[in-house]
C-alpha cells in the first residue's frame, strides 16, 4: 500500500494537477495482494516493474500480453520476462529482434491473414506494433491499388506487401529515412498519384503537377493542418487564432519539387510521356525530363535550388518538411495515441517530441528513441495510470488490438499448416470496420482527431468506427470465438482447462491478468452473479460466460 501511494505521489510531482480521486486510496482486491507482495521488496521502477506495470507495458508495446505458463526462463513477450529484466531491457531486446518473415504478395494467403498471423505469433511484437501504427499514419490501402494486367503478379498484394515490409524495416529507424522511402515507394506512388506526376503535358508545355501526394504528405504524414507548439497544442497567432501549417502555394510548390517520378524501368520516357507498366517491386525512378527544375518556395521561406535535379529537389523538399517544428509533436502525439492513450497530456507529448528533436546524440527523428521515450514515460508506466489523468486515460482497443489481445490472453494455438486462422481473424476484424490492410481512405480506418462521444474536447480516434453495427460485431466475434470448436474457428484452438474452474478463482485470474488488478468491485460482483446463475449449467458454460463478459466490458475495451 505504501508503495502504491508513493508511486502516485511521484507521478503527481510530474504530471498531476488535480486532487487524487477516490481510487488512489482504495485497497487492491485481495487476489491482487499476493501479486503486489511479490514486488514489494523493490519499488515499481523501470528496472523492477511490478506485474501490473509489466502487463500494462505489454498492452502498450505488443499485440497482447502473455504469461509464461511456467516455462523458465520466461519467453520474450511474457509478463514474467518483463518483470525479470525490466522495462528498459525489454525494449532493448525488442529493438534488437529481427523482423518476422517478410510479407509476401505472391502467395495465396491474404495480407490481412499474414498480418494477424504475425501479430499473434510473431516474436518482434514491438516492431510490428509500431509498424502497424506508422501504417495508420502514412496510409496506403490495398483497395486503392488497381490491377493493371501488365505485371506478372497480382498488383495490389505485391504493392502492399512491399509497403508493409518497408514500415517494418524502418519502424525503429529514422523518420527522415522513412519519409524518403515512403515517397519513393511504388504502392504509395500509385495510391496518391506520385507516379507519373509530370510537370509537362504531351506537347511539352508546362502543366501544374498533381497535388495529391504533396498535400497528404504535408497534411497527414508530417505536419497536420495547423501549426503546433512542441507539446502538441495549437500555436495561436497574436489574435488567438490557429495558423495553417502550410499554404495552398506550399502544396503547389511541393508538387512541383516532387514532380517527374515514374515506375522503375530501363529508361525514362520522353518529355510529357509516362511509363505505363507498373513495377511494385522497386522504388520509383527519377526522370529529370519530366521534372520542374525551377526553384520552389517551400516551408518557412526556404527555396529549392533553381535548375536543380529531381533527386536534389526531393532531398531539399523532404529535408524542409522534416525540419519543420510541427513534425516532432505531430508524429509523437499520434504514436502515443496508437500505443498508450488517446488524450496524452501536453507535457507527455512535449517530453516525447523533445526526444524526436534530439535523441541525446544530436540526431533528429530517431524512432527507436521516440518509441522508448513513449513507453518509459511516467504517464505510461506504473501499475495504474496517474491518478489525476485516470478519468480520461486510455484508448479504445481498435478491432485489431481487441482481437489479438483476446487471442493471446487465451493462449490460443493457431494451426497455420493445414488451415488459415489468420484469415478468420482478419475477417472478424473486417466486420468491425478494420480490414487490414484496406483502409477505406488515406484518412485511415479512423482519424486521429475523431471526437470522443459525449465528452467535449477529448478525442477518441477508435470511436470513429464504434457504432451499433460494429459494437455488435465485437460481441459476435467473441461469442463465435468462444463457442465454436477449432474446426469452425479455422484452426484456432483454445484449451479452456488452463483457466481456473472455480468462479471466484477465474474472476480473480481475469482481474490479475486481463485488467492488471484494476477490476472494480461492481464488475467483480456482476461477473460472479452471472457465473453463479443456474442458467449457466456447466463449468464450461460458466467459464465462457465469464470470459465473454470480461472481454466485452468497458474495463477491457478501453486499454488503460
Amino acid at each position: 500500500m505504501l508503495r502504491r501511494t508513493a508511486l502516485a505521489l511521484v507521478l503527481c510531482a510530474t504530471s498531476c494537477t488535480q486532487a487524487d480521486g477516490p481510487s488512489a486510496t482504495e485497497s487492491p482486491p485481495p487476489e491482487q495482494q499476493e501479486v503486489l507482495g511479490r514486488a514489494e521488496q523493490a519499488a515499481d521502477t523501470l528496472d523492477t516493474p511490478s506485474e501490473p506495470n509489466s502487463i500494462r507495458f505489454l498492452e502498450q508495446s505488443s499485440f497482447g500480453p502473455k504469461t509464461s505458463g511456467g516455462i523458465s526462463p520466461a519467453p520474450m513477450g511474457t509478463a514474467e520476462r518483463v518483470m525479470a529484466v525490466g522495462i528498459n531491457q525489454s525494449l532493448t531486446d525488442q529493438f534488437a529482434l529481427p523482423a518476422s518473415a517478410p510479407y509476401d504478395g505472391e502467395i495465396a494467403q491474404d495480407l490481412g491473414s499474414q498480418f494477424f498471423q504475425r501479430a499473434v505469433l510473431g516474436q518482434d511484437q514491438l516492431r510490428q506494433r509500431v509498424a502497424f501504427a506508422l501504417g495508420q499514419i502514412l496510409v496506403v490501402s490495398q483497395n486503392g491499388i488497381p490491377e493493371s494486367t501488365k505485371t506478372a503478379y497480382p498488383d495490389a498484394p505485391v504493392a502492399l506487401a512491399g509497403y508493409m515490409n518497408l514500415l517494418s524495416q524502418h519502424a525503429f529507424g529514422n523518420f527522415r529515412t522513412l519519409m524518403e522511402e515512403v515517397t519513393k515507394n511504388p504502392a504509395m506512388g500509385r495510391y496518391l498519384d506520385m507516379v507519373n506526376n509530370r510537370a509537362f503535358d504531351s506537347k511539352g508545355d508546362p502543366i501544374d503537377p498533381n497535388e495529391n501526394y504533396a498535400r497528404e504528405m504535408l497534411q497527414l504524414f508530417t505536419l497536420g493542418t495547423y501549426k503546433l507548439n512542441n507539446d502538441g497544442t495549437l500555436l495561436l497567432d497574436v489574435e488567438g487564432h490557429p495558423q495553417r501549417a502550410y499554404t495552398e502555394e506550399n502544396v503547389k510548390a511541393f508538387a512541383r519539387a516532387l514532380s517527374g517520378w515514374t515506375w522503375n524501368a530501363t529508361a525514362c520516357p520522353a518529355k510529357g510521356a509516362a511509363i505505363n507498366t507498373p513495377d511494385y517491386k522497386n522504388p520509383l525512378m527519377p526522370c529529370n525530363v519530366n521534372h520542374d527544375t525551377s526553384s520552389q518556395e517551400l516551408l518557412r521561406g526556404v527555396s529549392t535550388t533553381a535548375g536543380g535535379t529531381i533527386t536534389q529537389h526531393l532531398t531539399q523538399a523532404l529535408n524542409n518538411v522534416f525540419n519543420d517544428p510541427n513534425v516532432p509533436p505531430f508524429i509523437s502525439r499520434q504514436l502515443i495515441q496508437h500505443l498508450v492513450t488517446s488524450n496524452p497530456s501536453a507535457a507527455y507529448v512535449r517530453r516525447v517530441a523533445n526526444v524526436f528533436r534530439n535523441d541525446g546524440t544530436g540526431t533528429r527523428g530517431n524512432l527507436e528513441a521516440v518509441v522508448r521515450a513513449i513507453l518509459v514515460d511516467a504517464e505510461a508506466r506504473g501499475a495504474q495510470p496517474p491518478v489525476a489523468l485516470r478519468e480520461g486515460y486510455g484508448h479504445l482497443r481498435s478491432p485489431v488490438l481487441f482481437i489479438t489481445n483476446v487471442v493471446r490472453w487465451l493462449n490460443a494455438e493457431l494451426d497455420i499448416t493445414t488451415k488459415d486462422p489468420g484469415l478468420k481473424l482478419s475477417n472478424w476484424s473486417k466486420t468491425m470496420n478494420q480490414w487490414v490492410p484496406r483502409s477505406p481512405s488515406v484518412f485511415n480506418y479512423y482519424p486521429p482527431n475523431a471526437p470522443l462521444p459525449g465528452a467535449d474536447g477529448l478525442v477518441g480516434p477508435e470511436f470513429a468506427i464504434l457504432d451499433t453495427a460494429t459494437v455488435t460485431a465485437r460481441a459476435n466475434f467473441l461469442h463465435e470465438f468462444l463457442n465454436s470448436g477449432s474446426t469452425a474457428n479455422a484452426g484456432i484452438l483454445v484449451d479452456y482447462n488452463q483457466f481456473p474452474h472455480v468462479n471466484t478463482d477465474l474472476v480473480a485470474w481475469m482481474n490479475r491478468f486481463y485488467l492488471h488488478g484494476t477490476m472494480s468491485t461492481d464488475l467483480e460482483q456482476r461477473l460472479l452473479t452471472a457465473m453463479n446463475d443456474s442458467r449457466a449449467d456447466s463449468v464450461s458454460r460458466k467459464k465462457k460466460l465469464g470470459l465473454y463478459l470480461m472481454f466485452l466490458s468497458p474495463s477491457f475495451q478501453i486499454q488503460r
Partner: protein, 515 residues
Amino acid sequence: MTTSRRQFLRHATHGLGFLAAAASLPRWVGNAHAATLSGYSGSRVGVCVFLLGGNDSNNILIPRESNAYAKYLAARPNIGLKADQLDLINPTGMAAGSFALPQSLSRVRAHFEAGRAAFVCNVGPLVNPLTKADYTAGGTSVPENLFSHSDQQDAWSNALANPGSSPVSSDIKVTGWGGRTADKLHVLNTSTPPDYPEVTSFGGKALFCTGVDRKPMMVASNGVLAFRTLSTPPSPLDDLHAEALAGVMTVDDSNVLEAAAGDVFGTAQTFAKARAKARDDAWAALPLAVQNTLDGYFVHPAPPADYGRWTLHTQLYQVVRDLVAGAMPTTQGGLGLKRQVFSVGFGSFDTHQNQDVSQPQLLEQLDFSLDAFQKAVTLLETQPAFGSNAPQATVFTMSDFNRTFLENGDRGTDHAWGGHALVLGNRVAGKALYGTFPSFDLSGSLDGSTDSRGRWIPTLTVEQYGWSLASWLGLNSVAERDYVFPNLAGYVADAVARNFPTQARKYKINFMQAD
C-alpha cells in the same frame, strides 16, 4: 425533455392546408388531427441516397436546346449522350422537351413527368454565394479542399464547407445535418422503447447520420443487427448472457472512454432487439399479398449482367422494412415513430475512365432501385394497418461533387463542384427544375466555372437543399434552422447584401409541396 416537449406542443403549427388541396388522398388522412411541427401527423421519412465517388450529373440532365446541346456534344465527343440515347422531359414553366434524361433513367423520367420527381440544379457546398471574381480572389469564402473526395463528402454530410475556418463549435463540426435534424425531431417521436434512434444507416456517410445528442442505428447492408445466441429462439442461457452483458456495460470505472464505449453497446443492445421484433411484427401486420408485392418490386424481372454486384436495391429494400417497422403503430407491433431519416450509399461514381460504359450501368441500378422504393412507399401509403400513421417518404441524392463538363483523355471526367440533385416522392413538387442550370460556355470570362474544363460554381448551397428537406420533416423555427445549418443565415445575409439573384436570398428551395 419535458420542457421541450411542452414547448413543442405550444408552438406546434396547425396548418393542414394541404388536405384541402389534395383530391385523391386516402381516407385515413382525414383522421389526422394531432398537430405536428410540419402539419402532417403521420409518419414522415427522408431517405438520403449518397452517390459515392462524385456522380457526373452533367450526364443525367441534358439540355436539348440546340445551342446548349451542341456545346455539350462538343465538350463530350465520346461520353456525350446522343439524341437516340435520350428521352425528353417537359419541366413546368419551360418549353416542351427542353431537357432530356438518359434512357438509363427511364423509370425516374416517368416519375418526373408524373410530377413525383424534380431536379435541383447546380447545388454544392458554399460558404457564401460566390461569383467567379470571389472564387479567383480566394480566401475563406471559398470552400476548403474543393475537388477532394473525403472533404467534399464531409461538406455535403456536415453542411459546412469551411470546417477549418468556421467559428462554429466542435459539436457542429463533427456531426452531420441528418443527425442534427434528428436532434430536433426527437421530440416528435414517442416510440416504444423510448428514444429509438431517428436515423438508420445502411451505408453512405456516417458523418451525415451523427447528431450531437442523437446517435444513429448503423446496420450492415443486409439489414441484420443482432447479437449471436447459442440457440434459436434464445435459450435461458442466452437470456443470461444478454442480461449480464447489459449490466457489465454500465460499469465505467469513472472513465469517460469506458462510459462512451458502454453507451454504444447499450444503444445496440437496447434497440437491436426492439428493431428486429418490430421489423417482423410490423411486416406481419401487412396483408400477405402486400408483402409479396413489396418484395417483388425489388427483384429485377430481367437482371442485367452486373446485377449480382448491385447494392442499392437491397439497401432500399431494408429501408422499406425499417420504415414499415418505424411507421407501424405500437398497437400493431411497430415502433410508432413519426419521423425517421435513412441513409444509404452506393459507390463507383468516380468515373475517371470509360464513363461511357460504367455510368449507364450505375444509372440503371439507380433507376430500378429508386423506382422500386417509390412504388413500395406508394403502396404502403394506403395500407390500413398504419392507421393514422401512414408513411410519406422523400428520397434525395447527394454526391461528392459533379464532374468536369469537358471529358478527359480516358473517356472519363474529373472532379468538379456544383451538380444536379434528384428528389423523388409523392410530396415532391415534381416535374420541375429548381435553381439555375449552368451555362455551357467554356470560352471568355467563364463566369460560372472555376476553369476552362467546366467545373460549375454552385448557385444553390447544400444548406438550402438540406433545410428544404429538414423543414419538410418538421423543423421550422429559426433556432432549429441555425442549429442544424449554422452557416445558412450568414449565406442568405451575404446574398441580400450583395444583391445576388433571388434564389440565393432564400433559405429554402420550394421543391416540396406545401403542407
